[in-house]
Symmetry: none
Subunit: 409 residues, 2 copies
Amino acid sequence: MSNLDSVYSKLTIKTGAKLALVVLDGLGDIATAAQGNLTPLEAAYTPNLDALVRSGCAQGRMIPVAPGITPGSGPGHLALFGYDPLEFEVGRGVIEALGLGFELKAGDVAARANFCTLNAEGIVTDRRAGRIATEVCERLCGLLSAQIKKIGTTQVQVIPGKEHRFVVIFRGAGLEGPLTDTDPNREGLPIAESKPLDAKNAKQKKMAKLIADFYAVALPILAQESPANGFLMRGIAHQPEIPTFEERYQLKPAALAVYPMYKGLAQLVGMNKIEGPQTIAEQFERYIREYENYDFFFIHFKYTDKAGEDGNFKAKVKAIEEFDAALPILLARQPDVLAITGDHSTPCAMKGHSWHPQPVLLHSNASGTDKLERFTETGANLGSLGIFEAKYLIRLMQAHGRMFDKFGA
Amino acid sequence: MSNLDSVYSKLTIKTGAKLALVVLDGLGDIATAAQGNLTPLEAAYTPNLDALVRSGCAQGRMIPVAPGITPGSGPGHLALFGYDPLEFEVGRGVIEALGLGFELKAGDVAARANFCTLNAEGIVTDRRAGRIATEVCERLCGLLSAQIKKIGTTQVQVIPGKEHRFVVIFRGAGLEGPLTDTDPNREGLPIAESKPLDAKNAKQKKMAKLIADFYAVALPILAQESPANGFLMRGIAHQPEIPTFEERYQLKPAALAVYPMYKGLAQLVGMNKIEGPQTIAEQFERYIREYENYDFFFIHFKYTDKAGEDGNFKAKVKAIEEFDAALPILLARQPDVLAITGDHSTPCAMKGHSWHPQPVLLHSNASGTDKLERFTETGANLGSLGIFEAKYLIRLMQAHGRMFDKFGA
């Protein structure tokens, strides 16, 4: 925990304030000539958001990790949850497992894996085994699962993903990552040996031995398969100990997310997952029903990011309008502090995540008004919050919930 | 001293530039619907400030300590004086003593104290002794002062505050805080023992013994009093060694403040206190007369904060207008660098200090113009200084005074 975190901790008081963080995934965008020099937020018809802004909001933009750094969903959300994504690094195996809906526990070691093709000499001839169909992947993972339940006292789970991808979870005492990859990163080489990153770390050494043992039992099971007669492992790391959201902020948190990845990220910091709602309207309705049961609500909306990834400007506009249409459900019982933002930008023109600071809106009885008419990237540039690191959003939300004592006399 | 401070130090050159920092205490505010969506700065008639802005100023907003953290006057001013308030923490006893006008020396240990009521078993039955009148407090402090001048070789001073509050100063060799409070924090418990925060620190142990000895002689003096027959101590800490303003910035500083607290904070960093002026007009007049004698002027105006604390929007507007009316006195002899800002925000709607970044204006022949017409929070959002930590203001002022060599070739 950084010194500043411990200062925040000391100042924190429980006030019973209700805080809601609505994340429109990949919300931020850039205005290009091809899109009429408008961003999706600017092009969308958002009467409810506009009314909220005019009722008094502070706006700004947030740097998800550091200038120029494009985050994945993991670091993007960890920052929104107030955890410095450079301090709390989560391995790709862990993120992948969370994305597949697997409930990891602290200490579990997870690895991303790919099926690959080996020749008779054990040389990798295709690192992705010709991108086998997802059904084949599921069958092969079924084979491995059925025959490998444990290695020694360590439980092993093999979870299929899409195409050639899968995840392996090791659950047992005294395991730790990170280890080096077994993926040689190019064809023409044998499967690499996984080694401890810290040669003196006994837990990593134990884990490296487990990887070797896993290969020893798994490869014979696949030997007669074609083209997927081998596999490569990457991002072998344990789920880090992360201080829970509740102990860190003195807020009882709930997550209203539809996709497994975001439920998993919320669970990683100890949020309670509320299952059921499938649309943003249903999520907001559920928020109303759960209002008394929690202090903090993380509400995740995926479709802005999806449209951005597809480069589909119209779909992103439509997703924003769908969110706007549902917004009055949430506003029927306003939280004391409401933040609406993204976990990063996903500009349509780039068809992927980017580093552009995402716009953020903060509404409370201490937000005042920035005298803006709408919530847009260009407007947010003029807002009173300025440009700040996303990890501070939760601190501002706590401040607006009057959750901090004065610092010094 | 941080690495960056030492970089600044190495680059610093004496140029004879005159710098003036005018602090309108608690200046920053928020625009709420109840106030016509205007802040006091926006509502005030400020022709002189407006003319200054149009003559060329850079504007921005400053984070007093860290995002979301509301500072007391101590950290707020330390930041303005260029000392990181998270690095240079000043105990509440020290701040209180400064506020009462006591001239602390480095190494003095100060404690805030409250008179309280004890029952026959020594249990605290009223932590504030029914908020006794200030005159009673003065009489009791007089009794203690008269009978306790020294404990061993350590000098003791007891200084009355308002109602049940007072301050005790210990001056002697080898003393150090911080210690734990003797205040049990609720009624129904006995006076707590004050303990070293660092059990291995011999100076703290010596100090804890002194506190116990002080109680041993002081309690019998109060035993027959009612309701104030006891007292509780908090924030027991020594005045930290702070590098002086003059050695740190190569500027000979003067403080023109009316209230003891701000004189005390200026003195804490080694500023020369100029006594006499009671109004902002008199402070500016004195600045003119002292112009040749100092390089840096800290001019403090209290009434913006007072009005904010009272939630009195009209009074805050009037305080700003009073400052504006006096401004031409200062401008008759413009400093090379003039900064006008607050030490924090005190929004009328919140009736207290807040974390909202305060607006800042910088005027020099290197400030250029931000093409703004007035000095307001909303305008400052658009300024060329952006939002930055208050501890850097003094560095910007030095830069505008051409006090830094080029860094690197």
